[in-house]
Amino acid sequence: MTHLLSNCRLWLMVAGALLTVLFGCGGNPSGGPDESVGISAKVMADALHAVMESDRTVYATRVVHRLQDQEKVIRASEHWRDDKALPLPAQMFRMGAEEASNKTDTFSYSLLSKWPINKKNAPRTEMEIAGLDRVAKDPSKPFYGRESLGGVEYFMAVYADQAVSPACVTCHNAHQDSPRNDFELGDTMGGIVIRIRLR
């Protein structure tokens, strides 16, 4: 019996040594730094939002507002192809979202509002409705939640989308299909909704 046990121990030691040699120290098969730092869905959503909001602000202020309203070189138009114009900030955002959706289904994002020009951008799910309401009341705090869509669980976050440039306000207030025409600079005009797929 002792013989058998010590035999077992021996084999375990050999196997352990082999594993260490095979996979290197620390059990990291690639040998590189460990990438699985276990980011939470919330951290990922916040990070994605930081990028989206920054790009969106840069486009609205340094491209659209500068070229359209200040230097009067080119306008932004919903029919940018036909009008040889700049895409609207919202279209720019959606084109990016569509492009990303061709590459991954791990996350998705959209730009919605309780006062939408395009009625397809109105909130649809309960969480979207609740989220947009909340960020309209307190834009400083994102809204987080979970929802199930088409049988898949998502972590979802809603962030306030604010009038960062006078161009936002002038265009929305003047638009024929806008249900609101009293936006002011700095107002919350809608929200960015980010969903992370939970497996």
């Binding site: 919903e78 029919h79 959706s101 959209s110 979207e128 898949v152 024929q176 969903r195």
Partner: protein, 433 residues
């Protein structure tokens, strides 16, 4: 009878039948497997089963896109699949999964197939746009089966129907103004070869060439561009061929064959079948044209390469439907004749090709060119696709929309005026005022 004998007969019949079907599917008579009449769009290639079907995998979305993707992108597809990728569309997609072509276009179901190969009830827009009556009070008295059938909207291509386009082009323009199509500026692969034009005396022919053929060639664009007999008949140093294949044409004319094999005239080629013949057509054709082969030479008289012949006479030598037969009585034909007799400005005639093989602005090799789209279907179905590049050259948007929405007028080849008026422009204008 003895049960063992019956079992034997049953096994033999089954094995025999299986063997027979296996032989048929692997090259015999595949039409045995067609579950129902194929739609007008696909009937020419219906025996290329694997063009659409993956064994045990159904019809893949990619199979549709392989042929139709470029066209949908060019149409700025209003309902492209990527627009529905966001999971917030799950509710809509549960009612109608518009990311899949086969949700709306099922093959081999003649009993439910509508125009454009649609196999859903034509009021399908209501699945997702039921709210339109609230958003657009002007739509209150309209029914959902008229969204796409009355000249107002298309499902995929709305480039000449969107609201601001209606407003921009709808402001009191005259119905018809004299104008000309842009001049062709073809893209030719060997362009830039600096050779002097050739004359009849330069023909490097064989003895089989008749004086008529030499004359036709000597007066052609090919002779002017110094394309000699041997350039086609002995292409790339091969032996002399009396009837060179279309591949020879493609060695200089790169874009045209691409359009040709994408349309009804050449689609059999893209499935590696023998070329189409008029006998295979579902439209009425001239009886004496039935066995002709649809290759480049069917329309382009290969020696004279006269594009005017290709633009009308070639078409009418096969097509014998009402619309084609009515052409010679149409105002468009009168304009065409004026050009032929040099009374009209170049480009001001309206041939079959003006509308069905339209001139398109394209950027090729870094240069803007006007090339002829050889996919005759590219701007035909739905016919509003024609408005931007063709009709608006000479007509107001109002006339174009009304005329194309009037099937009788289309049959009469636009002899007369539209019998009804589509209100879309008026509605768009009323909202802007």
């Amino acid at each position: 009878m003895h049960p063992r004998f019956l079992t034997f007969v049953w096994i033999m019949t089954t094995v025999g039948l299986a063997a027979y079907l296996a032989i048929q599917i692997s090259g015999g008579n595949r039409s045995l497997f067609l579950p129902g009449r194929t739609s007008d769009g696909h009937h020419q290639i219906e025996l290329a089963c694997d063009a659409c079907h993956t064994p045990f995998g159904g019809v893949r979305q990619e199979a549709c896109l392989e042929c139709h993707q470029a066209e949908l992108a060019a149409a700025e597809d209003s309902h492209a699949g990527s627009k529905f990728a966001d999971p917030r569309n799950a509710g809509d997609l549960a009612r109608l999964d518009v990311r899949q072509c086969i949700t709306c276009h099922i093959e081999h179901r003649p009993e439910i197939t509508e125009a454009m190969g649609l196999t859903l009830p034509v009021d399908f827009c209501h699945h997702c746009h039921a709210n339109v009556v609230v958003e657009r009070p002007t739509h209150r008295d309209m029914s959902f089966d008229t969204c796409a059938s009355a000249g107002c909207h298309n499902y995929h291509d709305n480039r000449s129907l969107y609201e601001d386009f209606l407003v921009r082009h709808g402001n009191g323009l005259p119905a018809t103004i004299p104008a000309a199509l842009p001049e062709r500026k073809a893209w030719i692969l060997r362009e830039g070869v600096d050779r002097l034009p050739l004359t009849a005396g330069d023909a490097d022919r064989t003895t089989s060439a008749t004086p008529e053929l030499i004359d036709a060639w000597a007066g052609s664009a090919h002779a002017s561009a110094a394309v000699a007999c041997s350039d086609c008949h002995r292409s790339q140093g091969s032996l002399w061929a009396d009837h060179p294949s279309d591949r020879v044409c493609g060695s200089c004319h790169e874009l045209e064959p691409q359009g040709f094999v994408a349309g009804k005239h050449g689609m059999r080629r893209s499935a590696d079948f023998n070329p189409m013949t008029p006998s295979q057509a579902r439209l009425p054709m001239q009886p004496d044209s039935m066995s002709r082969t649809l290759n480049c030479g069917a329309c382009h008289d290969v020696h004279a390469v006269n594009v005017r012949h290709a633009a009308v006479d070639a078409c009418l030598s096969c097509h014998a439907d009402e619309h084609s037969l009515a052409y010679s009585g149409s105002p468009h034909f009168r304009l065409w004749q004026a050009v032929l007799s040099s009374e009209g400005e170049p480009g001001s005639g309206v041939s079959c090709a003006s509308c069905h093989l339209p001139r398109e602005r394209r950027r090729v090799a870094g240069e803007d060119r006007i090339v002829v789209q050889h996919n005759q279907n590219a701007n035909l179905r739905p016919n509003e696709k024609m408005i931007r590049d063709v009709c608006l050259t000479c007509h107001s948007l109002t006339l174009a929309i009304d005329a194309l929405a009037d099937p009788d007028l289309v049959r009469r080849n636009f002899v007369g005026l539209p019998s009804r008026h589509v209100r879309s422009i008026d509605m768009a204008l009323s909202r802007k005022n």
